[in-house]
Symmetry: C2
Subunit: 215 residues, 2 copies
């Protein structure tokens, strides 16, 4: 808020920086220059310095960047120094897979509820949670101040459920449904459109092989 707006491109690169710095930390590397990091990551040193300097000076002339310090700072920028609470809306295969995925918890993302409308699923145990009826989701979010709703529903289900969720005081939606959610400005949306990702792959596959389209 106090800083100038950071571009989407820069933000998208932060998690990757964090990953490489984590690896360096694990290797016991103490400091790294933008140049050495650029070689590892296959980006320009200039971009690395520009990116970091959006958030203030993390390095030292003649020395480079302290790996642990930089790792921690980028973690803070990404909000990984706080815990975050989540519920999963839609307990199909993908919803259950996300609920079972332990690594989110390690990063401080706590899954506190999982919901579905299918009576066949309600009551089923997923990890340490029981799948509950979707009708109770909004109330749970409100009472527990849940920050993030993970939408893992089919397209049709998503649009019908979204109204309730929006009015529950949810702060962000991690959207796996194949729809563009039209939400109030103060609700954050991050989309994961798997089928679009697969189509991009298909495009590259198609344009790469010799068999050029006749039209």
């Amino acid at each position: 808020m106090s800083e100038r707006k950071i571009s989407q491109a820069v933000i998208s690169r932060l998690p990757r920086y964090l990953r490489y710095l984590g690896d360096l930390k694990d290797e016991g590397v103490e400091r790294i220059s933008s140049h050495d990091l650029s070689v590892r990551m296959h980006v320009t040193a200039s971009q690395i310095r520009q990116d970091f300097n959006h958030f203030g000076g993390f390095g030292q002339q003649g020395y480079g960047y302290n790996v642990v310090y930089l790792y921690d700072e980028i973690g803070k920028i990404l909000g990984l120094d706080h815990k975050h609470t989540m519920v999963i809306i839609g307990a199909g295969n993908l919803g259950q897979a996300l609920a079972n995925y332990m690594n989110f918890e390690k990063r401080g993302f706590l899954i506190l509820g999982i919901y579905d409308k299918d009576p066949a699923l309600i009551g089923k145990q997923v990890r340490n949670l029981e799948i509950e009826d979707i009708s109770g989701a909004a109330d749970f979010i409100r009472k527990n101040n849940i920050e993030i709703a993970v939408l893992t529903l089919p397209k049709a289900g998503a649009t019908s459920v979204i109204g309730d969720i929006v009015n529950s005081g949810i702060k962000a939606i991690w959207n796996f449904a194949h729809v563009d959610l039209d939400l109030p400005d103060d609700i954050i949306v991050e989309n994961v459109h798997l089928s679009e990702s697969l189509m991009k792959l298909s495009y590259k596959l198609t344009s790469a092989d010799g068999t050029e389209r006749i039209n």
Copy 2:
């Protein structure tokens, strides 16, 4: 190949165009102008026309674009007029969720095998497939000319398995593992880094709320 290189930004927008055109088709809309589409999609009409014109003239002055024709053409550009064969490498929660996801099949993406190294999983039925030992994956890819390997493995597993897969003649990798694969140029990679997506969401959440970082 014959055309000038299309930028990544344009390619990324194609699946979204396809989705909106599919919706219009379902609504029975016969033709649409770049302006009307721009209003629906919240992009500029100029961008729409520029994007389409990378692939040739799909429209008609004074008329606009024929919805069904444009839908089909973008589908062809994305390679959705062919079938594509896939195997899933890693039969954990995410691998099984993807295997069970019916919509890929509708688009012509056929999952023909699912592999894991965990003896507890091998033999388990997932949809119409049985989880097989990972040691047989490369051979299966080679014999059946499989195009796409879906990597749904933990980081450590991914790096150890990737060598075999690369030498099997695979054409593309849909990578869900948290690593940057270092592959020969002729193998296409499309990454889906879920944890990076969640971190971006976390960033927005953190920078949006009043509690600005002290540093």
